[in-house]
């Protein structure tokens, strides 16, 4: 694995190049270019805000901010997995004709979505500043949260992109799985609203823990030392699951990789 990381490092320019390509292709031909990437979360935010604050009257203060803090990191995951699933097949002309470590393809998708995510966060900072949130108080926790979540995203994306080569209908299944995952994560609702007997399942989901960190930093502007959620044990479990997903994804990918060119 270490040899492979060294090899990937020697291919860093290709990763940069393909990531740039992903971003360029996505926003080519639109006047607003990169700004489009903001449109999607903003629209989602508006729709959910309307439903939850005005129609259902859930009574959550500043629902838009409450939502967006968790929505952005989840979108990073779901976009990466959704685009990543078909990425090997979509690049069959490359896989079939030129050798390079195949994980570069899904990785470049993850990186492209990661830059999108960072860009969205910057936009969020601006909005929060205008609204007078003191989000910067615990900003030092953010890189840690992002760093750990990154491994989860990479692991999931590697896993689905490799399996999808063998089972093409996985791509459709992924959309459904991601939807279930979305509603299984406290994004449009707070964790406390979940009945006690279901909380266990929700808390097993590492995205619950990560979105809680983002929300603590931006929305609640608190960083729970000891008492609050997520505490050390929950975080460690999430971390364990994340690492498990990462290594399973990586090894499954590596196991299936040699036959990609023949299968597509």
């Amino acid at each position: 694995m270490i040899a492979n990381i060294r090899k990937l490092f020697s291919y860093r320019e290709l990763i940069v190049s393909l990531t740039k390509k992903e971003l360029k292709v996505k926003y080519r031909g639109s006047v607003l270019g990169f700004l489009w990437s903001l449109l999607n979360p903003i629209l989602t935010m508006l729709v959910y805000s309307f439903v939850f604050s005005i129609v259902l009257r859930a009574g959550i203060k500043e629902f838009a901010i409450f939502l967006i803090c968790a929505l952005l990191p989840f979108n990073f995951l779901s976009n990466s997995v959704n685009y990543g699933a078909g990425s090997i097949i979509a690049n069959s002309n490359l896989v079939n004709k030129i050798y390079f470590p195949r994980e570069i393809i899904p990785l470049s998708i993850v990186f492209a979505n990661f830059f999108n995510f960072l860009f969205e966060l910057v936009a969020l900072f601006i909005v929060l500043t205008v609204l007078g949130y003191k989000f910067y108080l615990f900003l030092y926790v953010l890189p840690v949260a992002i760093f750990i979540q990154f491994f989860l995203v990479v692991g999931m994306t590697l896993l689905v992109s490799a399996i999808n080569v063998y089972f093409r209908d996985l791509q459709h299944l992924i959309t459904i799985i991601m939807m279930v995952w979305f509603f299984g994560t406290p994004i449009i609702y707070p964790l406390e609203m979940v009945p006690e007997r279901f909380q266990f399942i929700i808390k097993i989901n590492p995205m619950t823990i990560y979105t809680a960190y983002y929300r603590n930093i931006f929305y609640y502007v608190k960083y729970p030392e000891g008492a609050g959620f997520p505490g050390i044990p929950e975080t460690l479990i999430a971390l364990g699951i994340t690492l498990l997903v990462f290594f399973v994804g990586y090894f499954v990918f590596k196991k299936l990789e040699p036959r990609f060119a023949e299968e597509i």
Binding site: K7, N91, V95, K97, Y99, L170
Partner: protein
């Protein structure tokens, strides 16, 4: 896998103690051919069985080595495993068994412009494609102008490549690829790019790479390319190496094989139609077929049962190729004085028959035909049981290959026949390296300066 195999992006040639760039050690490659188009999760789960497949041996225990600085050619018919071999060297496929060892950095031109994105401009695609081929951005910056100049696309470099013609697309692909500068270059049928002048440039570029002492491995159907460029070649057939070594010899082996194959194919094609026509002939029990039918029938040769027709009043009993001294020949060559001798036996009295021969090539083109009537030769009345010897003497002016002789004895009305024997004799004319085609016009070539 050995460390050496992984050394694809090493800067220089890793010294392995010998002079071998690519070493193929008893390599076999098995493909799975699935019975259903795409395996799906749904089917696998619902039917609880693995998708069924057949195995296909694309390469069967192939071994050879390519030395540093050598230009190595691989030829063979479609499906013989040439591209599979290149893909194994390029590490796109892994061998089923055996080992592929590559010393030095390797770049594979299996498809020009693979990975171009249609929405991006030529400039952007140069950077991405170069990175895919393993070039550093710094190197691309340095060579950028050179790449653009070579492709002759200066005006269009900031146009999205979706607006390029296919020629422009390939030109850009080639220009990027030859600038990668690896130790070992794999080339698969990508030399036929663009118009004549650009092709010449491509060949020159390949030559330059050769001169710089790089190792090149070429797969091509263009046999001239192989014998011109390569210092060694391999002829691959059904996953096995048929011949390996001197490219001139290997290419001529392959040519002979293709010729044989073509002949077989032409024969197969004709057999069906031939059967139909002769079936009607046999069913209607016509002993004498008229000239027009003969014309049709004569094009459809070689099946034993239907080779021969006519009334049988006279029969060609033997046909031979002779030299001037009446010695029987198995083959001849350009310039030989030879004779085709026919023995004819009469079973009934025939008045003023016409004796003739027709020479055809393997594709059934009539190379030459003549008879006693067109030569204004009077023939007599021949009685039952009389035998004749008819000789056609000529000088061989055809180019090498197999030719067939069809003898015939016709009635004097020149429409009906006593006997017609398709391709009764095969003449083998030895290859003449000076010319190609059928007729040897034996031109004198002179070169003269006019300024």
């Amino acid at each position: 896998m050995s460390e050496r195999v992984n050394n694809y992006r090493g800067s220089g040639i890793k010294n392995s103690g010998d002079n071998i760039a690519v070493d193929i050690k008893s390599v076999s490659k098995m493909y799975r051919i699935y019975h259903e188009k795409i395996p799906s999760l749904k089917n696998t789960i619902l039917t609880r069985k693995r998708t069924t497949y057949e195995e296909f041996l694309a390469l069967d225990n192939v071994s050879f080595a390519v030395n540093n600085g050598q230009t190595f050619g691989i030829i063979g018919p479609n499906g013989s495993g040439k591209s599979t071999l290149l893909k194994l060297m390029a590490k796109i496929f892994l061998p089923t068994c055996g080992e592929v060892i590559v010393n030095g950095s390797l770049s594979a031109l299996l498809e020009l412009g693979a990975g171009f994105h249609p929405d991006l401009t030529g400039r952007e695609n140069i950077y991405i494609n170069s990175a895919i081929l393993g070039m550093r951005k710094r190197e691309v910056d340095k060579r950028f102008d050179q790449i653009v100049r070579f492709s002759e696309l200066e005006k269009f470099i900031d146009t999205p490549v979706k607006n390029y013609s296919s020629g422009m697309y390939m030109r850009l692909g080639f220009s990027i690829a030859i600038n990668v500068n690896p130790d070992i270059l794999l080339v698969d049928e990508v030399l036929a790019v663009g118009d004549q002048s650009f092709q010449a440039k491509c060949y020159k570029a390949i030559y330059d790479i050769m001169k710089r002492g790089k190792t090149i491995i070429i797969v091509s159907h263009d046999l001239e390319t192989i014998s011109d460029l390569c210092s060694r070649a391999a002829f691959l057939k059904e996953g096995k190496i048929v011949d390996l070594g001197n490219p001139i010899r290997v290419v001529s082996q392959y040519r002979a094989y293709v010729e044989e194959l073509e002949k077989k194919r032409a024969e197969d094609q004709q057999r069906e139609e031939r059967k139909k026509i002769f079936k009607t002939v046999i069913e209607s029990n016509i002993k004498v077929v008229d000239g027009e039918d003969i014309e049709k029938l004569s094009r459809l040769d070689s099946e034993q049962a239907i080779k021969r027709f006519g009334s049988g009043d006279a029969m060609v009993t033997d046909i031979r190729l002779l030299d001037e001294n009446e010695n029987k020949l198995d083959y001849c060559k350009y310039g030989d004085e030879v004779k085709i001798a026919l023995d004819i036996k009469f079973n009934r009295k025939v008045e003023g028959p016409i004796f003739g021969i027709r020479i055809t090539d393997i594709k059934d083109n009539i190379v030459y035909g003549t008879n006693t009537r067109t030569n204004n030769l009077k023939t007599e009345v021949y009685d039952k049981d009389e035998s004749l010897r008819v000789e056609f003497a000529f000088k061989v002016t055809i180019i090498g290959g197999n030719y067939y002789v069809t003898p015939a004895v016709g009635y004097k009305d020149s429409k009906t026949y006593c006997d017609w024997v398709n391709n009764m004799l095969t003449i083998n004319v030895l290859k003449n390296e000076k010319a190609e085609g059928i007729a040897n016009l034996n031109s004198k070539i002179t070169i003269e300066k006019i300024s």
